[in-house]
C-alpha cells in the first residue's frame, strides 16, 4: 500500500467581511485573523422520518433546518479587533477620532445588527484550501478574555443564515500577520485595571485580578424558519453585559460590599438590601509596547458581587470569584470599548 498524507488540523484560515445589507454577501473579507481555537461552520438538524409502511424500522432521517453557527477564539490585534467589535456592537457603532496615527475607534452599541460574511478555509493536502462561506452572520456573543500569562483574546459566538460549500477562494483585503519573533498583539502584561466597587467613574487601580472575562451577549437570539430550509427571520432579543474574574483577596472590602452594602461596615451591621453600582476601566497594552495600540474598556455602571470564599486546610491564599452585571447607566452608554490603530475608515 502507498503511504498517503493526512490533512493537518492546524492549517485552517478564518476571515470575515462587513456586509452592506442582509442578503448581500461580500466577495472578499476585510480581515483574515489568526485564531486560538474554533468550532464553526455549517449546521443542520436531522429528524427521524417517522413513516409507517409495514417495515420494522424507521426508513431514515431528513433535514428540516440548515444554518451557520459556532465559536471562535480570536487573537486580539489592534488592526482587526475593531472588525470583531463592529460585528457585535452593530451598524454604525464605530466613531473614529484623529487625523493621523493613532486613530481611536470608540464603540457604542447600536440596536441594528451588522451582518458579516464569514469564511472558514479548510486545509486540503498540498497546501490549498476549500472554503465554507457563511452568509448573513451575526456575532451574538463577544467576550474580552484576560488571563495572567496569556495574550489577550476575543471570544465570539456567531450565528448565520446560510452557508455555501466549496466557495470561491477569497482574497482578504488585510491579513493579520504573525511576527517571526516576539509577542503578538494585545497582551496581559502592562495592563492598567481600574475597578471601584461603589463609585463611578472608576479611579482605583487594582492589581489583584488573575483573570477576567467581560461578556456582551444577545442570550435569547433565535432564527425562525417558515418555508425555507434556511432561516427566514431572526430575533435578537435582549442584550446583556456581565463580568467574571478570579479575585485575590487582600482585604474583605469586596466581601463586605457584597453582603453588607459597604466596603467598611460599622460594628454589628445587618445584611444590606442595597446593590450599589461600581465601575471599571481597563486599559490593555500591546506587545511590543505601544501607547498608540491599546484597547480600553469602560463600564461606568456595574453591580459587583463576590462569591463567598471558604476556609481551606491547605492554608492557600484566598481567591474568590468576582462577578458583575450591567446596571442601567444614569446616562450614556453601558460599555465603550476603544481601540487605537492607524485605520482611518470606520469599521461599522
Amino acid at each position: 500500500m502507498t503511504l498517503a498524507a493526512e490533512i493537518p488540523s492546524n492549517q485552517y484560515k478564518f476571515s470575515l467581511g462587513k456586509q452592506s445589507a442582509l442578503g448581500t454577501p461580500v466577495a472578499n473579507p476585510d480581515y483574515q485573523i489568526p485564531v486560538y481555537d474554533a468550532d464553526i461552520g455549517p449546521m443542520e438538524e436531522r429528524v427521524d422520518l417517522e413513516l409507517i409502511n409495514g417495515q420494522a424500522f424507521l426508513p431514515g432521517k431528513y433535514k428540516p433546518r440548515a444554518w451557520f453557527e459556532g465559536d471562535v477564539t480570536w487573537a486580539s490585534h489592534p488592526d482587526s479587533l475593531p472588525r470583531l467589535l463592529a460585528w457585535h456592537f452593530g451598524t454604525s457603532s464605530d466613531t473614529v477620532t484623529g487625523a493621523g496615527d493613532p486613530r481611536t475607534h470608540t464603540f457604542a452599541r447600536k440596536d441594528v445588527l451588522l451582518p458579516h460574511t464569514f469564511w472558514v478555509g479548510r486545509p486540503v493536502a498540498g497546501g490549498t484550501f476549500e472554503y465554507d462561506k457563511g452568509i448573513d452572520t451575526f456575532c451574538t456573543k463577544l467576550d474580552f478574555i484576560y488571563e495572567s500569562g496569556q495574550l489577550f483574546k476575543i471570544g465570539t459566538h456567531a450565528v448565520g443564515a446560510s452557508v455555501l460549500g466549496n466557495a470561491t477562494a477569497p482574497t482578504p483585503t488585510n491579513t493579520i500577520a504573525i511576527p517571526s519573533a516576539g509577542n503578538f498583539g494585545h497582551t496581559w502584561a502592562g495592563a492598567t485595571l481600574k475597578l471601584d466597587l461603589a463609585a463611578t467613574p472608576s479611579t482605583t487601580t487594582i492589581t489583584n485580578l488573575k483573570t477576567f472575562t467581560i461578556s456582551c451577549e444577545y442570550p435569547n437570539f433565535v432564527m425562525d424558519n417558515t418555508q425555507n430550509l434556511n432561516p427566514d427571520f431572526y430575533s435578537q432579543g435582549l442584550w446583556s453585559l456581565s463580568f467574571e474574574a478570579e479575585f485575590i483577596l487582600q482585604n474583605w472590602n469586596a466581601y463586605n460590599h457584597t453582603f453588607y452594602g459597604t466596603a467598611s461596615p460599622g460594628a454589628n451591621t445587618a445584611q444590606s438590601s442595597s446593590a450599589p453600582s461600581g465601575a471599571l476601566a481597563f486599559t490593555i497594552a500591546q506587545e511590543p509596547a505601544s501607547a498608540n495600540r491599546t484597547v480600553q474598556i469602560d463600564i461606568p455602571y456595574i453591580q459587583y458581587e463576590l462569591a463567598r470564599p471558604t476556609p481551606n486546610p491547605d492554608g492557600s491564599g484566598i481567591t474568590a470569584t468576582m462577578s458583575g452585571n450591567l446596571s442601567l447607566p444614569a446616562s450614556g452608554e453601558p460599555i465603550t470599548p476603544a481601540v487605537k490603530n492607524n485605520t482611518a475608515g470606520s469599521y461599522s
Binding site: S92, D94, T106, K110, Q296, S346
Partner: protein, 72 residues
C-alpha cells in the same frame, strides 16, 4: 445662535477637538467631522441628536456637548 445645542468630537486622550467620523444609526451613518471638531447637526434628525446626546453623556466617548478648551 443663542440656545442652539453644539456637539464636538474630541481626542479621547487630550480632550482637544479633532477630525473624524461619528457613527450614527441612520444615514449619514458615518458623519464626517472637520479638524475643528464641530459636529454639524443642522441636517440631523431629532433621533440622531438623541444619539449624539447619549454618546456625549458617556465620559469615555469622544463626542462631547461641552465646548472643548481649544475652541473657547
Amino acid at each position: 445662535m443663542a440656545g442652539k445645542r453644539r456637539f464636538y468630537l474630541c481626542d479621547p486622550d487630550t480632550g482637544k477637538p479633532v477630525a473624524g467620523l461619528v457613527g450614527l444609526a441612520s444615514r449619514p451613518n458615518n458623519l464626517e467631522v472637520k479638524a475643528n471638531g464641530v459636529i454639524d447637526i443642522d441636517k440631523l434628525t431629532a433621533q440622531q441628536i438623541d444619539e449624539l446626546e447619549r454618546m456625549a453623556a458617556t465620559p469615555s466617548h469622544p463626542v462631547s456637548e461641552s465646548e472643548p478648551e481649544a475652541i473657547k
